[in-house]
């Protein structure tokens, strides 16, 4: 019984740790976006091009990081695809006339600047990156 309990503690600790790794990406939005929180499914739909608004009716525009660890963590946590497959799925929408490629920025700083200046913009940055001028969305 003791062994089982220790194994359970170990697995639980690993799960918490994994969640902490996934939470390194901070989801940010333009201050004019009404929501302060967003569901994972809403976020996934916006970033895969199948929706252009949140539940509160705010029209939102996804903004992507060009690459890197934060980009990979965000896609793994909220979209469920690696970067190559994610970009390929957007190109399918582009080539079939259903969407334009989302804006892509080079860095956390560029992301914050663009999201702050663009009504409806939603993006993501590293958890420790400065983010003055944008609001942070809690993902539930």
């Amino acid at each position: 019984m003791k062994k089982l309990f220790l194994i359970f503690l170990f697995v639980a600790a690993a799960a918490v740790d994994a969640n902490r790794v996934r939470a390194q990406a901070l989801v940010i939005a333009n201050p004019k976006v009404k929501s302060t929180e967003v569901s994972k499914s809403d976020l996934r739909e916006v970033f895969t091009g199948t929706a252009s608004s949140f539940k509160d009716g705010s029209n939102v525009i996804p903004v992507l990081l060009k690459g890197g660890a934060v980009n990979d963590e965000f896609l793994a946590a909220y979209v469920g695809k690696p970067d190559g497959a994610f970009k390929a799925s957007w190109r399918s929408l582009v080539f079939s006339g259903q969407a334009s490629m989302p804006k892509t920025v080079e860095s956390d700083a560029a992301m914050v600047t663009y999201v702050a200046e663009t009504p409806g913009a939603v993006g993501y940055i590293g958890k420790t990156a400065p983010h003055d001028g944008v609001k942070v969305l809690a993902v539930k």
Binding site: T50, A51, S52, S53, N59, I61, G80, P82, D83, G84, A85, K87, A88, R91, S92, V94, F95, S96, G97, Q98, A99, S100, M101, K103, G120
Partner: protein, 390 residues
């Protein structure tokens, strides 16, 4: 073509107030892809190529320009070049449209627009979008696809959230003119027999589709149908003398499909029935008229599955069945096609596909052959394709 230019002109004129904005504000984007295929087959040449000797006669290229002057309005045009054996060596306008999305529940596209029929019709000619080198020819026949890919008119679309327990429904409705150009694959047999349809055939069509995104994440069930009217065109001989008329009878093409896609796995199934009657009337030549006319009633379906082995490597297989219930018994009545496939994505811009087919029957792949009895009943096909996209 003139209609496309006119529609584009109207769309761009609507965007004129935004001209004073910078190009970046207009979100002008240019994208494209190019592919080079290689085909080898045993026993029979396929898809109008010399595949029994090995053929590199399959090249495609696409260029796409779009602008988004406002968050809800997109305009764009896509041109598509296809070289395939002796069947095609031309550039077409894939789509040229203005798209206004009022909200997630309702949007409108007008112009030359993709027709969202079936599971894959709107991506059928977009090679980077899927694993396969050759899509199941039972449903997505490559020499017939030109007239099915898009139409002149409009599409309304949207997504309705039902409830957490019922999921969401995506809907599409469309209508307009469908155009079979004189060199459309539908007239391939007549062309080889020495007849032409010099003005093509066109007419009104309409259809709809529903995709139910079920509460089970990744599972989609769908149905669609498209209906055409009686369309008639002129038939000439090779000296351009008028011989008579060809009429494509009114028909509908329902499709039922399901797809499950989650994490590394994709499974899909589609069934369609395309009952049609083609009547060629050449006064004074009843035998020729009869030989060029015909009813078909193909029952077509495929089942496919794929698995992402690594982030760069995807493998899959499908079985495709096409049986024409109106055809006499024998190999030309059906086509049963097993395919094994792999795709390697070097990076987000370049990929390589390899595929092996085992085909029994000659209903598919041999549209250019007048005398089907000359074909051997079994064919193996090796298909390779390299693609770049940006």
């Amino acid at each position: 073509m003139k209609r496309v230019v006119a529609i584009l002109a109207v769309s761009l004129a609507g965007a004129l107030p935004a001209v004073s904005q910078s190009l970046e504000d207009l979100n002008i984007q240019i994208h494209g892809f190019a592919t080079q295929g290689f085909l080898y087959s045993t026993n029979n040449d396929i898809m109008t190529t010399n595949s029994t000797s090995g053929s590199a006669g399959w090249t495609e290229a696409v260029m796409n320009v779009s602008a988004q002057p406002t968050p809800k309005l997109r305009v764009g045009v896509q041109a598509h070049y296809l070289l395939l054996g002796s069947f095609s060596d031309k550039i077409l306008i894939d789509w040229a449209q203005a798209d206004y999305k009022f909200n997630d529940r309702f949007g409108v596209r007008v112009g030359k627009v993709k027709t969202p029929w079936g599971l894959m019709n709107d991506v059928e000619d977009l090679d980077p979008a899927y694993l396969w080198v050759i899509l199941p020819q039972s449903v997505y026949n490559i020499t017939d696809r030109e007239s099915y890919l898009s139409h002149f008119g409009g599409v309304v679309y949207g997504k309705l959230k039902l409830s957490p327990k019922l999921g969401k429904v995506e809907y599409f409705g469309w209508g307009g003119d469908d155009v079979y150009t004189p060199d459309d694959g539908a007239f391939l047999t007549q062309t080889i027999a020495g007849y032409t349809v010099p003005n093509g055939i066109q007419g009104t069509m309409y259809g709809g589709a529903l995709h139910w995104r079920t509460p089970l994440r990744g599972l989609m069930l769908g149905a669609s149908d498209v209906t055409t009217g009686n369309w008639t065109g002129q038939v000439n001989d090779n000296n351009d003398s008028v011989l008579g008329t060809e009429t494509l009878a009114k028909d509908s093409t329902p499709s039922y499909f399901a797809q499950y896609e989650k994490d590394k796995v994709m499974v899909a199934y589609e069934y369609t029935r395309n009952w049609s009657a083609d009547s060629v009337q050449i006064p004074g030549y009843p035998d020729v008229s009869r030989s060029l006319s015909g009813r078909t009633d193909p029952r077509e379906w495929y089942a496919m599955a794929s698995y992402k082995v690594t982030p760069k490597l995807t493998t899959g297989a499908y079985f495709s069945s096409d049986i024409d219930r109106q055809a006499p018994l024998g190999p030309p009545r059906d086509s049963l096609d097993w395919a094994l496939s792999g795709r390697y994505d070097f990076n987000q811009f370049m990929y390589l596909k390899a595929e092996q087919h085992f085909v029994a029957g000659t209903q598919d792949y041999f549209e250019s052959v007048l005398d089907m009895t000359t074909l051997k009943p079994h064919t193996q096909i090796t298909a390779l394709k390299i693609g770049v996209n940006f």
